[in-house]
Amino acid sequence: MNEERITEKLNILADAAKYDVSCSSSGSKRKNDNNGLGNASNGICHTYTEDGRCVSLLKILLTNHCIFDCAYCVSRSSNDIKRAAFTVQEVVDLTINFYRRNYIEGLFLSSGIFKDADFTMERLVRVAKKLRTEHKFNGYIHLKSIPGASDELMREAGLYADRLSINLEIPTEAGLKLLAPEKNRQDMIKPMGFLNKEIIQRTEEKQLFKKAPIFAPAGQSTQMIIGATPETDHQVLYTSNYFYKNFNLKRVYYSGYVPVMNDNRLPALHTSVPMVRENRLYQADWLMRFYGFKVNEIVDQQNPHLDLDIDPKLSWSLRNLQVFPIDINTADLQLILRVPGVGLQSAQKIVSARKFGKLNWEHLKKIGVALNRAKYFITCSSVKFERRDLTGSAIKQYILAQSKSKYLKNSVTQLNLF
C-alpha cells in the first residue's frame, strides 16, 4: 500500500463524508458465529471529534467524483476541489485493520455518483460482499443507497449491510427542487418502499426458518438538512412522522446546515450552524419515538416552530397546564413520562420505587429527576407544591432564571436566522 497516496485519499474522502450525521452502530444483531472477525450488536462510540460528535464507524465516500450539482454538497460537480476514489480492496483493508485495533465498529460507506446510480451502487455492494464473504467480517456495515438504484442491487445490499439509508436531503420536495434540481424525490422514496417491504417479508421468513439469512437487521434511516431552505419545524417533523409511520424508519437524522459555499439560494457563508434548532428537533424526535407524544402535540399550525429557549416537552407542558399537577405516587408511567425534567430511566425508577413506599422530593432528586423543571408539574409525598397559582409564562421565567442554558450565548444569533 502506498502510504502517501492512501493517506491523501483517506483525508479527502473522510472529509467529504463528514457532513453525513448518521453515526449509529446499534440496532443490529449480527453475531460472530463463524469464528471470524467482529460482531455488530453493541453500538459503541470509539472516540469523539473536537466538535463533540461520536465516531463509531469508518465514515468515508468511495469517491467524491459526482455527476450531480446539488447546491448544499461539497462534492457537487461544479465545486473546484481535489477528487479521489478508493478501490474496493483499499476500503476493505482499511476497515479490517481499523477494526482489529478497536478503532471502529464497522464501515459507513457512501459515494458520489460516478456514472449512474446502478454503476455506483454495484461498487458499494461489492465492498460489503467482499468483507462478509472473503474476510468473515461481522462488524457493522451501513451502506448509503444511491437513489434510483435497481431493486436487485438493493436486495443484495440488504443481504450484506446492517443498515441502509437514503438521504432525503431537504425536508420538502419544493426545497429539493430548488437546491438539487437533478434529484428526484420519487427516486429516493421508491427504494425505501421496496426495502421496507423486503425487511418485513424477511423478518417473517426468519421467524419460520431459523436459517434464513438476516436482511438489513438494523433497518433503514435517513437524514435531512436543516436550515438550508426555509422549512418550518412543523414541516420537518411531519415529514419525519410520515417516514416513521409509513416506512418503519429506525432513525431520522437532522443535520444543521454548515455553509460550505457561496450560492444565492443558500444562507450566506458566515451564517452560524443552527445547532440549537438541530438539538430541539432531536428532542422532539425523541418525544415521538420514546415518550408517546403525537407529532401534532409538539408542533401545529399555531406553533410551527419549536421554542429555542426551552425544550419541546416543557413547551408542551406550558401549553397544557390543565393536565398538571400529576401525583408521582399514583400516576401512570405514560403520564409521568410527560413531566418536564423526568427522563425514561427516572420514570421507570419512580414506578419501581413507589411500590416500596411513597416518594418525596428528596427521593426524586436522588433518582435523578431534574427538579428545577419538574417541581412545577408534580405533587409527591410532601406538603409543599411549588407551582402555586403560577401562569405558564411565570413558570417559564422561573425556570429560565434558574438554569444556565449551555446555548444561551448562541441563542441571540440563532433567533435572527429565521
Binding site: 493517506t7 460472530n32 481499523f98
Partner: protein
Amino acid sequence: MTTLIYDGSFEGLLTAVFEIYEHRLQHIKIEKGEWLATALFEDVIKVHTDERRAGRVLQGLQKRLSAGALQRLYAVHMAGMDGEDINIVGYIRYVIDSVQNVEEDYGNRYVLRVAEMVRMIRREKHRMEAFIRFQKLQDETFYSAIEPDFNILPLLGKHFKNRYTDQKWIIYDMRRNYGLFYNLHAVEFIALDFSTTRPDNVISTYTEDEGLYQNLWKNYFNSVNIPARKNTKLHMRHIPKRYWRFLTEKI
C-alpha cells in the same frame, strides 16, 4: 462502634456480615487488610474468611435477590471503590432484614447507592470497550494497556472474546498489574514482569504496518472534525483527559 477487618475477598465480606449478625452489631466500620497496630486500641474484630459462614449469607441473599442483582452486587465489590464497603454491607443487611425482594427500592439509600455504583462500573466498562486501542505485535498478538479507575478487567473478557475470535490479544491493567490474554481458545489472567520486560520493550516489537495504521487513524480523526461546530466542553465530557494517553488519536 466496632471495626471489622477482612481480607478484601467477597467471601470475606460475606463472613463479616455473618459476624455482624452473630454479635448483633449495630454501628460498624469495615476495612480491608492486615491487623494494624493502631487498631488494637479500638473495638476490632478480625474476620477469618470462612466458606461455611459466607455460604449461609449467600444463601440468604439468593433467596431475596434475583440472580442479576446478586451478580451486580458481586461486580460492585470486585470493582474496589474506595470506602464503599460500608454501603455494600448496608445493602446486604437491608436485603436480609426485608421480607420481600427490595432490589428496586430506590427510596432506600443503600439500594440507590449500589445502583449508582453499578452505573459507574458499567460506564467505565463501556468506556474501556470503546477506548481500548490495540497495537499489533510481531507475533500477531494485539496488545493494549489501560488504567481504569475501577477494577473492571474481569468484566471485559466476554466482550473482546466474542469480537476478536480470530486474533490473539492482551489487555493489560497497568494500575493493578494484571491482564487478560486470549490465546485463540480461551481467556486467561496473566501478570507481566515489567522489571525485566519494560512496557516500552513489549510494544517495541510492532509489526511493520502498525505505524501506518496509527497514522491513518490520526489523520482520519482530524479529517472528520468540523471546525465550524467546535465544542471543546462536549469533547472533554465524552473523552475525559485521563484516558488520552492511551488513545492513539490523542497522543
